[in-house]
Amino acid sequence: MASTNADSSLDLTPAEIDKAQRHDANPLDGIWIFIVGDLFIFGSYFVTYALWRNWQHDVFLSAQRNLNLGFGLFNTMVLLVSSWFLAAALKAMRAADWDTSGRWTLATMACGLVFVVSKISEWTVEVGHGFVFTSNMFSQFYFWTTGVHLLHVLFGLLALFRLYLEVKDPTCRNVATAESAAAFWHMVDLLWLVIFALMYLTR
């Protein structure tokens, strides 16, 4: 795969060819710029949420009763455990213990799936009680933010699945891909920590 990058029609310098080859070794290279951007975009949502919370404090407080703290706490724990498992998978990878690494990646994905199922059941319960997107300003923020976050979880699961396939395949396994995919997954966890605090715990 690497040799196809030295496409003479592109007229690249040797340094550029070398760079392209290194980039190609990691399909997720450059993900950090996305992660930082995402952190700041989410940061701007969090500040917007805080502003509206301030303006409609009573509405937000009474609407928060519709949330189930148990679900919130469980989801946070699940993501924290998943991050731990993934960190272990990376340690195994660095020790070139690919089989163990694959197992921990699968365990991480299992945690991610538990999160998805738990989040969807939480929404189902809330919608069943008549708490929906258009109920009030808090519910708009709540469904919106957790929805966008769930989308990130799904993308993260895809990235982990890809990582798992690579770990299984001796010809294309590499630690750099794993680091990028892991960074994305940990960001999903990190954002949830703040979302959990803002949506469930603020008073």
């Binding site: 930082v36 805080a50 703290l69 924290l80 455990v81 498992f85 272990a88 921990w104 990190l190 920590l193």
Partner: protein, 90 residues
């Protein structure tokens, strides 16, 4: 199993879990009565952001990354709580 306890990841995970439970206790200490309380709100936000920094440094390994990344992630960590505090109290 050995990799779960290799390096600092296990104590970091344990710390994050304990702190999560702690912030839950701070918030729902008053029998789930929804009383407005800026101190509690800010406490849980600050705890969350500190947890976020541990995730950034210990799991995402930002500490070994290039300078712009370290600086920007710390700008986020240090900047978010004051921004939220201002938004919650203006």
């Amino acid at each position: 199993m050995q990799y779960l306890f290799k390096g600092r990841i296990a104590p970091v995970w344990l710390g994050l879990t304990i702190v999560t439970l702690l912030s839950w206790l701070i918030s729902s200490g008053q029998d789930n009565v929804m009383k407005p309380d800026l101190t509690v709100s800010m406490a849980v936000v600050v705890i969350a952001v500190i947890k976020a920094r541990f995730v950034l440094r210990e799991f995402m390994e930002v500490g070994h990354a290039s300078r712009w990344l370290r600086v920007l992630s710390d700008v986020w960590v240090v900047g978010l709580p004051p921004a939220i505090l201002v938004a919650l109290s203006v």
